[in-house]
């Protein structure tokens, strides 16, 4: 009888839900997802690519400064070894060494490949790809197109990808991964346009859903950065690592309020921009950490020469790692030396004293920045300084993956890009994300295709689908209840809690408070009500995203509590120093059988001798 019921239900579901079958399903169409899709389809398997937004609009489009790859076009002393050592130093050696190695070795080829697919990077005088300076990179390393590198990259991948036979499903939001036993066998979601549910069956699934910035109030991230991949993987039983490591970019806009958090690219500092406080002092010279002393200029003249390509000069302190610069800015503001709207000054206009035609030079090198300040803040950056302050930008933590294959701890589930973790450790260097997307996007696509070739489609758990569907539709039923609140209020409250309690400077009591609040917010999220229909209803979509935002917020907070020290992007007021006990461990988040979030520490894999040697040589 039960069999008959299930068969009936199955027929009903198949009729109710459109079902797609692909060998490899890729969730997310940013740089990582697109690169994975291209690689998987080149391996001869069928590929489906789903994305919450339209093709080409993913967050990757916003990336500005460039893609890091040790091509050595501008300074031939650069090579993968230097890039590897820089990445490890920047990540405070919490990075997975194998990932940092693969990344440094493979990035140049991945960038050249983009050129073969039509990308048009800025050029050196001898016609090769131009590379620019960026924080934490020893040599000019970032291939770029003005300050719109992300657009160039996503458009190149998109325009190449559409001719590769990939099935693109736009404006589809995945709600859950489908499992058969221990293995992921597909995904379940809805189309934003009409709210119809869809089943995607696949032999292998790649998550490439990007970041979590929308868990915070002040962020440079776009709306789709709600941590969906982190959360989907976690709820499917995969481990997350390094979740305490959220990167606060030192320079976001602070004024006017409507653009607060919007990114001001590090490229401004790479081109010679300086940070000053209200007394006009270049405060960064006062705070150069010991492990960077030998590499950092100790006077303004040398710093300027570095930005202009003098190979014998050392970098100015404005180009120290992001975690450090962000904290220095916070200190200036806290100690009353900030700018009128609660930031500090970033000045590029001063370079007019140094270069003739400086105004045109600035506009040419930083066109989007010029435009952004002019259009949104009534500020002409060629004439006056900008006001900047830290903004939530990137998460180093994410899905725990195998370095070579990008498979998560769940069979058949792969991850790449910002939602995966390991390459960046405690802090990411600028430019290392776009290269990460290419290197590990490719690898995820390649190994997911290989996995798909060795496995067949799994069975779909109808009960799971029924449950997800029911949950997803509940908010409509609750709208009749006059007590029910809207999803935006819950989202906003969460963003404030995370901003205040789990931000740049962290403390035990505040984070415990955040956990309590998150607990209450889980309850409120389960009670929100929605008006309107299932047709393109942003309120409903926001309600469904809450689960992901809450999951990642809880993971960040629990991991940050676990790491009782300050290292890289995590700064704890109550443990202001590094502690050797945490020097060689990553935090791991997992879900136990009861569905509770568990935290533990795990040793970082030992670095092989040849890599240790590289680190030694580059000290």
């Amino acid at each position: 009888m039960l069999d008959g019921y299930l068969a009936g239900l199955e027929n009903f579901l198949v009729a109710a839900y459109q079902t797609f079958e692909h060998d490899v399903l890729i969730i997310g169409a940013g740089g990582a997802g697109l690169r994975a899709a291209i690689e998987a389809s080149a391996a001869g398997v069928t590929v489906g690519l789903v994305s919450k937004s339209l093709l080409g609009k993913a967050h990757t489009v916003m990336a500005e400064g460039g893609v890091a790859a040790a091509m050595g076009n501008v300074d031939d002393r650069d090579n993968w070894r230097v890039h590897f050592a820089d990445t490890m130093r920047g990540g405070q050696y919490l990075n997975r060494p194998r990932m940092a190695e693969l990344h440094a070795k493979e990035a140049p080829e991945r960038v050249h490949e983009l050129e073969a697919w039509g990308a048009v990077f800025d050029r050196t005088k001898d016609g090769r790809i131009l590379q620019r300076n960026f924080g934490g990179h020893k040599y000019p390393r970032l291939a770029h197109v003005g300050d719109r590198t992300g657009l160039e990259m996503i458009r190149t991948l998109q325009d190449h990808g559409i001719h590769q036979g990939i099935d693109v499903h736009m404006e589809i939001c995945i709600l859950a991964l489908l499992k058969e036993g221990d293995r992921v066998v597909g995904a379940f979601g809805y189309d934003r346009e009409r709210g119809r549910f869809k089943i995607y069956r696949a032999k292998a699934v790649v998550l490439a859903t990007g970041g979590i910035g929308k868990a915070y109030k002040i962020t440079s991230n776009s709306w789709d950065c709600t941590g969906d991949g982190h959360s989907l993987a976690y709820h499917a039983g995969a481990e997350l690592i390094d979740m305490e490591y959220v990167q606060f970019h030192p320079t976001g806009m602070v004024w006017p309020p409507s653009v607060r958090g919007m990114l001001v690219t590090e490229g401004v500092r790479g081109e010679g921009g300086i940070l000053t406080n209200k007394e006009g002092k270049r405060f960064m010279f006062d705070f150069i950490p010991d492990n960077y002393k030998t590499q950092t200029a100790d006077n303004e003249e040398e710093g300027w020469r570095y930005t202009q390509g003098d190979k014998n000069a050392r970098r100015p302190p404005e180009l120290l790692t992001r975690d450090h610069v962000a904290r220095c800015i916070v200190r200036e503001i806290k100690e009353g030396r900030g700018s009128p709207h609660g930031g500090v000054f970033l000045d590029i206009s001063w370079i007019k004293q140094k270069i003739s035609g400086g105004e045109e030079h600035i506009k040419r090198k930083l066109p989007s920045m010029y435009h952004q300040f002019k259009a949104l803040g009534d500020i002409d950056i060629t004439r006056e300084p900008m006001e900047v302050g830290p903004t939530t930008h990137y998460i180093m933590g994410g899905i725990h993956v195998d370095a070579d294959t990008q498979m998560s701890t769940v069979l058949g589930l792969f991850a790449a890009g910002e939602c995966a973790a390991g390459i960046n450790g405690a802090n990411r260097l600028g430019g290392n994300s776009l290269s990460d997307l290419l290197v590990f996007g490719k690898r995820a696509g390649e190994y997911a295709a290989a996995f798909a070739k060795e496995n067949s489609l799994g069975a779909i758990d109808q009960q799971q689908i029924e449950q997800v569907t029911r949950r997803a539709l509940e908010p409509f039923e609750r709208s009749a209840n006059p007590q029910s609140e809207g999803p935006y209020q819950v989202q906003k409250h969460l963003q404030e809690v995370m901003q205040h309690d789990v931000g740049i400077v962290r403390r035990e009591e505040e984070m415990q408070h955040a956990l309590e609040e998150i607990g209450k917010l889980w309850e409120r999220a389960g009670q929100v009500g929605i008006t309107g229909t299932r047709d393109f209803n942003p309120g409903w979509h926001t309600a469904l995203d809450l689960k992901h935002l809450l999951t990642v917020s809880e993971a960040i907070t629990r991991s940050a509590l676990e790491r009782k020290e300050s290292r890289g992007a995590q700064f704890r007021d109550d443990y202001p120093d590094k502690d050797d006990a945490f020097a060689k461990v990553n935090t791991i988040i997992s879900r136990d059988a009861e569905g509770t979030m568990q935290t533990r520490l795990e040793s970082i894999p030992e670095m092989p001798d040849y890599l240790k040697k590289v680190i030694e040589e580059m000290k």
Partner: protein
């Protein structure tokens, strides 16, 4: 803080009407902020697309007081707030709901344009050499964020609905970027004249006026393409040269 009234078009394929919403105005606010405020406090189901809120993704196109604009870059301080601000969807594509239109036609059109086909690498390591001055023009076209505002104002699409015969300014400069790419070896001129309908463009320059990226769509893109079409079809000398030399240098 002052308040402003927004008349926002609400509806779907079956029809719709403008509805009034009033919201507070704060310094620096853009139209998209107002739409978000209205969404979060008055109409959770008010549909609009956006991603970056920084003028970089081209998702939030709409007509504000009748002018095609990115909502995230449309400052309220540039609008007369003593009168209601109208916000409605773009007109060149079928409506889905509220401020959202079905722009999928654009993605289908792009797929039909022949892809980039580079010449053999210049160097033994598989890389190419290009001079900056030879790529400036292509980089200008590649600034396009695919907001489709130019498609919206082009009368060939907006008024004459020639979607089956004309690819619109966005894709004309897409073709231009490929044709003027120093490494490309493909020839897209025959389609341009026929299936892609470049002849429909009568150089009104409306597209250039609305482009948020300030791309000189008409002068730098469409007109040179029209010249290439003329060359290839009616200029026997150019045609002959092209047969023996690189088309890029003609």
């Amino acid at each position: 803080m002052s308040a402003a009234t927004f008349k926002i078009w609400r509806g779907d394929t079956k029809g719709g009407a403008f509805e009034d919403y009033t919201t507070e105005v704060s310094e620096g606010m853009v139209v998209l902020d107002a739409v978000h405020d209205i969404q979060s406090t008055q109409a959770n189901d008010l549909a609009c697309r956006w991603n970056c809120k920084a003028g970089k993704c081209g998702s939030c196109s709409a007509e504000v007081n009748g002018m095609p604009k990115l909502m995230c870059m449309a400052r309220l301080s540039d609008l007369p707030l003593d009168k209601p601000i109208t916000v409605e969807p773009i007109k060149a594509f079928p409506i889905v709901k509220d401020l959202i239109t079905d722009v999928s036609w654009n993605f289908r059109v792009k797929k039909k344009i022949k892809k980039f086909k580079p010449r053999a690498p210049d160097a033994a390591d598989g890389t190419w050499r290009m001079a900056q001055e030879d790529i400036d023009r292509v980089q200008e076209f590649r600034k396009c964020i695919e907001c489709f505002l130019c498609q919206d104002v082009c009368h060939v699409l907006r008024d004459h609905r020639k979607h089956d015969e004309f690819i619109g300014p966005r894709f004309l400069i897409y073709v231009a970027a490929l044709e003027m790419h120093p490494l490309d070896t493909e020839n897209r001129i025959p389609e341009l004249r026929e299936a892609q309908g470049i002849g429909y463009c009568n150089i009104t320059k409306c597209c250039t006026k609305v482009c948020p990226e300030n791309i000189q769509i008409t002068d730098n893109g469409i007109i040179p393409l029209k010249e290439r079409v003329v060359d290839q079809y009616y200029d026997p000398v150019a045609k002959l040269l092209r047969r023996f030399g690189s088309k890029k240098n003609v």
